[in-house]
Symmetry: C2
Subunit: 141 residues, 2 copies
């Protein structure tokens, strides 16, 4: 169930799963790249990021439908790769994937109990979901 | 001489100088964001990256003249920020800034002796220079 898609080799899946912070990039309304640091979680070939719906990266994704995530290991030789693909901003059925991200933020053994969509909406939380369609810029992998 | 520009507060300059790996973003020829992991060095409000002239990020910058660099500290709470601005690919008078980057890669007290432009050209090395004009996505700073 949590297996890698053919695009995600075991090594790439391990890079994604053994790190939890990465850099997400979108295209801003000015056509220039926009980057920020995010926590993420992975299931199969989908990457989840929990953010606030009014953040510019969410608006960029709503407008453009694409994002990339550059992941780098924290120990020498600092393996890294960039995962990119179709991206959406979701506000329904986001309780479980949001809990997966929260688990990683908290470094917990188990995800916290999933919140309902209404509770997450009340605090402005949305879920960015990137379907990995390309892997590039592999380094030390 | 190594002071911060008004845009780079002491805290932002410290973030740049106390880290050496970051994620650079450019816009690919398909209009989508492109990211990769790079070593960098800073002098005043300029960020230097040593790369090979045939790398896609160098071509992206030659075409678009803009890049961003997202820097994240390696310790909790993982402070981060994205620095962006006009970017050029240089091949002349690049010996000294290239040596600054090499010093950081090697974790050396002093930069290695600067190579001449001809020697660097012989191995395909160019220098990406980003002039920081915007700072965004500050987190834990």
């Amino acid at each position: 169930m949590n297996g890698a898609s053919p695009l995600l080799t075991p090594e790439l899946a391990r890079l994604l799963d053994s790190n939890k912070l990465a850099t997400v990039a979108t295209i801003g309304s000015d056509g220039l790249p926009r980057q920020s640091t995010v926590y993420y979680a992975r299931r199969e070939n989908r990457i989840f990021i929990s953010t606030l719906g009014d953040r510019v990266k969410a608006r960029d994704i709503e407008r453009q439908g694409w994002a990339s995530l550059c992941v780098r290991g924290s120990e020498p030789p600092y393996p890294s790769a960039t995962f990119s693909g179709t991206a959406v901003v979701r506000s329904t059925e986001i309780g479980e994937p949001t809990a997966l991200v929260m688990q990683r933020i908290a470094d917990a053994d188990e995800p916290p109990e999933a919140q309902g969509d209404d509770a997450l909406a009340a605090v402005g939380r949305v879920l960015i979901e990137i379907v990995v369609e390309r892997v590039a810029a592999l380094s030390h992998l």
